[in-house]
């Protein structure tokens, strides 16, 4: 089964993007890659893998670094639109 790529409008806030990822995970499987196509945020979801029981967390990087809680699993990182501005983020899931 093919993985699924979905696009999100660039004006989404950080919390809205998190909800967008959460909802798409429920539909298409866990997120494995994020980025942008210049017009909006894009994410790839892994098909055929069990839908996660916990939502992903999106966190902005500061100075190229992001603090991930101990035990959390990093899912993806990349440049996405947050409130219309390209930002470096990391996506992880708490244990």
């Amino acid at each position: 089964m093919a993985d699924t790529i979905q696009g999100a409008k660039p004006e989404l806030s950080l919390s809205e993007l998190t909800e967008w990822l959460t909802t798409n995970e429920v539909l298409f499987g866990p997120v494995i890659q994020i980025g942008n196509n210049g017009q909006g945020t894009a994410a790839t979801f892994k098909s055929g893998v069990a839908i996660p029981t916990k939502a992903p967390v999106v966190r902005l990087k500061v100075g190229g670094q992001a603090v991930i809680p101990e035990g959390a699993t990093k899912l993806a990182e990349g440049k996405v639109f947050i409130s219309g501005v390209i930002q470096d983020v990391v996506v992880f899931r708490l244990a």
Partner: protein, 318 residues
């Protein structure tokens, strides 16, 4: 080698020296990744005979043109080849790193050994030994030019990764189309691009053009990918639909198209011929309704409707 040894009378010491020099030079020819690209995937160990291009195309065209079988077979072949290419790529990267380190060490040591031996050998032998040392040093310089990317290897690998990501993304997008719109021959062309995207030659071109800019853009962007951009669902939607989404996935995995048909009927959409088709249609309809719904309560109701339909007794919507 002929210039070095061609006019020498081969005495015992000469023969030993010849063996030594040839032995030191041999590793150069044995380096698997000095070609600058991974080995092809179409080898018996990586891709079975039945999945070779000709056999796969024959099997593909033997399937009905108007059904989902060609799409499924195409996706299967793409999966096999991408997995094989990934395996080859990882092997290539490992060998690349190891061989660069190994060659530098071996050649440096060889040159030192021959130069030292020349200082204690008879005149003619010393000339040969010195020539051998010079040859090795020269070989190392030549090799260093051939693999001049040693110091920029991380950037080159990043360039290859960026190219592979871009090609892979395009393949994944095109896999969402049925075989009638994205056929197996087209897929093979894309898979070939995916393999060659791991070429050091193309990576060098990319890096020398503008390494940091290209790598940053390609790695962080779905460059050139055309997407329909959706808005944010109401907060709590994901959690509200998690049980329904999981149920659909379970039914799809169990190939239970009857129960999926009940859900499709409840959502007023036509079920597909297969469980994956119906599950895909349900997900697409859910995405539409989620975009239309303005409150999390509406999305909770959507989830409840799906779960209720799945629990409903009867023969389903087929």
């Amino acid at each position: 080698m002929q210039d070095l040894f061609g006019k020498v009378v081969w005495t015992g010491i000469h023969n030993r020296l010849r063996v030594l020099v040839i032995g030191l030079l041999l590793p150069l020819g044995a380096c698997a990744s000095f070609d600058g690209h991974p080995r092809p995937v179409v080898e018996p160990i990586v891709v079975k005979d039945e999945y070779h291009v000709a056999q796969a195309l024959t099997a593909y065209y033997a399937l009905p043109a108007d059904g989902a079988q060609r799409t499924e077979y195409r996706d299967k072949i793409i999966g096999i080849y991408m997995d094989a290419a990934e395996s080859r790529y990882q092997e290539f990267r490992r060998l690349l790193s190891r061989e660069i380190k190994g060659s530098n060490f071996g050649l440096g040591t060889g040159a030192l050994v021959l130069a030292t031996a020349a200082s204690v050998a008879a005149e003619r032998a010393a000339n040969i030994l010195s020539a051998g040392a010079a040859a090795l040093t020269g070989a190392k310089t030549g090799l260093a030019k051939e693999v001049y990317f040693e110091k920029t290897l991380p950037a080159l690998i990043a360039g290859m990764e960026a190219s592979r990501t871009r090609v892979r993304t395009n393949i994944l997008l095109r896999m969402q189309k049925p075989a009638a719109e994205y056929s197996l021959p087209e897929a093979f062309m894309d898979l070939n691009s995916y393999e060659t995207a791991a070429s050091l030659d193309s990576a060098i071109e990319m890096v020398t053009a503008d390494a940091s800019r290209r790598v940053a853009v390609e790695q962080n962007a779905y460059d050139g990918v055309v997407l329909t951009l959706s808005g944010a669902p109401p907060i709590g939607t994901g959690d509200a639909l998690r049980a329904a989404g999981t149920k659909i996935q379970e039914l799809e995995a169990a190939n239970d198209n009857v129960t999926l048909g009940k859900i499709a009927k409840a959502l007023n959409i036509a079920p597909g011929a297969t469980a994956p088709d119906t599950a895909g249609a349900i997900r697409a309809e859910m995405a539409v309704q989620i975009q239309r719904n303005s409150t999390v309560e509406q999305n909770k109701a959507l989830g409840t409707k799906i779960l209720d339909a799945a629990a409903q007794p009867g023969t389903g919507g087929q």
